[in-house]
């Protein structure tokens, strides 16, 4: 049997087996939906978001199947042609290789270096705060300024780098003009620029490890390396995981540093994926092709992250 009952404002009615007509905002006793208010509060964010993130993501996908030069008016549907020519283009593979080299060199170097420093900073050191500030400073300045400075440091004749190498008995290296050296130059600068972030993250992670684990291990006779291997690393594994994923995603998308340090040269030896995308979009105005390339980048990053999450399930302490 069903009745319609109009609810009195106090929401005290409780005929659960009858259809009760409720005012829109008070559909269930005690449960008010904040939706209208929420939408109002969310509106600025949602508007900007829809215009500059939501729409672009979808449109970019659509564009990757079109041939369009933006100013010419109409776009032509070309199906998978953009993707096919992308994979057929040796330049694209070169670019992928460069990006991979940069990422797989920078990330491990970065992590080892920043972990060592974070570990050292965990011990008793005088001037710790000042040191931490100085070590973090490279992160804060703009990539453009950093690259200008390092261009000067890398000068083959007058730069500081070759000067210091001279002390070690190594001859001058033509860092930025020698195709085989340029990537090294980029990697070194990349590590310098970003290790501060990981240092902070590792410091936080290290501090979270309870001291009594180490004490117990010490009592049992474990040496420093054993303690590091069996306590520090496992307890730090969530942080290591986070740092690895974020560093890889960041390194794979490097652009500013490359643009100002080497402009992708010499001979394309430092041309990275985002640089490639930028050129095809804003230099050659092949929007479709560039969109396809950016989705390939997206897919690669997504795959990396998924793989790492899968890997994390067994290896990371306290994981999902």
């Amino acid at each position: 049997m069903s009745q319609t009952v109009t609810v009195i404002p106090n929401n005290e009615v409780a005929f659960t087996d009858t259809k009760i007509k409720r005012p829109f905002f008070n559909r269930r006793p005690g449960k008010k939906s904040d939706l209208p208010m929420a939408l109002l509060f969310l509106s600025p964010t949602l508007i900007v978001f829809s215009a500059f993130i939501l729409f672009p993501v979808i449109f970019s996908f659509y564009l990757s199947f079109q041939k369009w030069n933006m100013f010419g008016g109409k776009s032509t549907f070309v199906g998978l042609d953009n993707y096919i020519s992308l994979f057929k283009n040796p330049d694209f593979w070169l670019v992928l290789k460069n990006t991979a080299i940069y990422t797989f060199a920078t990330v491990p170097l970065n992590m080892v270096f920043s972990l060592m420093i974070a570990y050292a900073l965990g011990k008793k050191i005088y001037g710790k705060k000042l040191l931490r500030t100085a070590l973090f400073a490279p992160v804060v300045i703009s990539p453009v300024a950093a690259a200008v400075i390092w261009r000067w440091l890398y000068d083959p004749n007058f730069g500081l780098i070759n000067y210091f190498l001279g002390f070690l008995g190594i001859g001058a290296i033509n860092w930025l003009n020698d195709p085989s050296a340029a990537m090294f130059a980029l990697i070194i600068m990349g590590v310098w620029k970003t290790f501060g972030i990981n240092m902070i993250l590792f410091s936080a992670g290290l501090q979270a490890i309870p001291e009594n684990y180490y004490e117990a291990a010490r009592i049992d006779g474990a040496g420093p390396w054993a303690r590091f291997r069996n306590i520090t690393i496992p307890m730090l594994s969530p942080t290591i995981f986070f740092v690895t994923v974020m560093s890889m995603i960041g390194s794979f998308q490097v652009f500013d540093l490359v643009y100002v340090l080497t402009s992708g040269g010499p001979l394309g030896s430092t041309k990275v994926l985002v640089f490639y995308i930028y050129e095809y979009a804003f230099k050659y105005f092949q929007m479709g092709y560039a969109s396809a390339a950016s989705y390939v980048l997206f897919a690669i990053l997504f795959a990396f992250t998924m793989i790492q999450i899968r890997y994390m399930k067994d290896k990371v302490y306290g994981a999902i």
């Binding site: 500059f52 672009p56 500030t133 070590l135 300045i141 440091l153 000067y163 993250l201 986070f242 804003f282």
Partner: protein, 282 residues
């Protein structure tokens, strides 16, 4: 031979000394590029193109800065960068507080799903959105304008995430008392939550300011006239044009770097806290 206490102590001290030496050496090595940049910016060209490099200039050429500002309108670049950065920072504080309040305190069906979708967008690489974003600007007729630099930065998933995590930690009793006294949702946000959230707001403000001030690629895409350039874009163009004039280039770099370094120096703990917050598990 027996191990006595003073031997162990000497060993411990020398380990510590070694540690200090190594750490200080690494720190100095990290900081040398900055020092070199500053020193080079006040040298004369003939003292720059010298081998072996000379550390201190014989005379301080502060007029390099004057020359740099004459060669390119760094003053204008500066104004553009600061104006855009400050506007976006204030704007983001506004929009992200509103949005974070929704996800932290308001209830509606699908709220959490929407939040996670929102967070998910943080994973989308920048270049997927940059091409169509440019087109949106083009269709709006905003190419080469301040709006182009400001508006896209007004929404930030990271900002919403940061603030929401913080808002959740504020005890609800305070708001409930306010509601009983007849406050509106907006009033609660304004008078209770925000004042208590100053650390989180400061952290977000610093990160936003830094990100916008240091941005390069978006300005590169969107700006094509000299008077609209930001400092970073201007520095890059300057480098292209005055390729080997390192005295001017370093002066320009110092200009690009100084505001951020100053902000950083005074607000270090917010930078560090922001990074740590983004790394902690929920």
């Amino acid at each position: 031979m027996s191990f006595n206490f003073s031997m162990v102590k000497t060993f411990k001290i020398s380990k510590s000394v070694l540690l200090h030496l190594v750490i200080y050496a690494i720190t100095i090595a990290t900081v040398i590029p900055f020092i070199w940049m500053i020193l080079t910016s006040v040298k004369n060209l003939n003292e720059i193109f010298i081998y072996p490099p000379k550390w201190l200039p014989s005379k301080f050429h502060f007029d390099n800065y004057v020359k740099a500002f004459e060669a390119a309108p760094f003053g204008r670049y500066y104004f553009n960068s600061i104006f855009v950065a400050v506007t976006v920072t204030i704007g983001q504080l506004f929009t992200c507080s509103l949005a974070a309040f929704v996800f932290a305190r308001m209830k509606f069906k699908g709220r959490d799903i929407l939040f996670y979708v929102f967070l998910g967008t943080m994973m989308i690489p920048y270049n997927v959105t940059m091409i169509p974003s440019f087109m949106v600007l083009y269709w709006l007729g905003w190419v080469n304008t301040y709006q182009a630099l400001i508006v896209p930065g007004l929404a930030s998933a990271f900002g919403v995430f940061l603030l929401r995590q913080f808002f959740i930690t504020i005890p609800k009793e305070l708001e409930e008392a306010a509601y009983i006294d007849g406050a509106t949702k907006f009033g609660v946000l304004r008078r209770i939550i925000l004042p208590l959230s100053k650390p989180a707001l400061a952290t977000l403000a610093i990160f936003t300011f830094m990100g916008v001030f240091n941005d390069f690629i978006w300005a590169l895409i969107v700006i094509n006239s000299e008077d609209m350039r930001t400092v970073q874009l201007g520095l890059s163009v300057f480098r292209d044009r005055y390729l080997t004039q390192w005295d001017l280039l370093m002066a320009g770099s110092v200009t690009a770097v100084l505001p951020i370094l100053i902000v950083f120096f005074f607000a270090q703990k917010y930078f560090i806290r922001g990074i740590t917050l983004s790394g902690l598990k929920e």
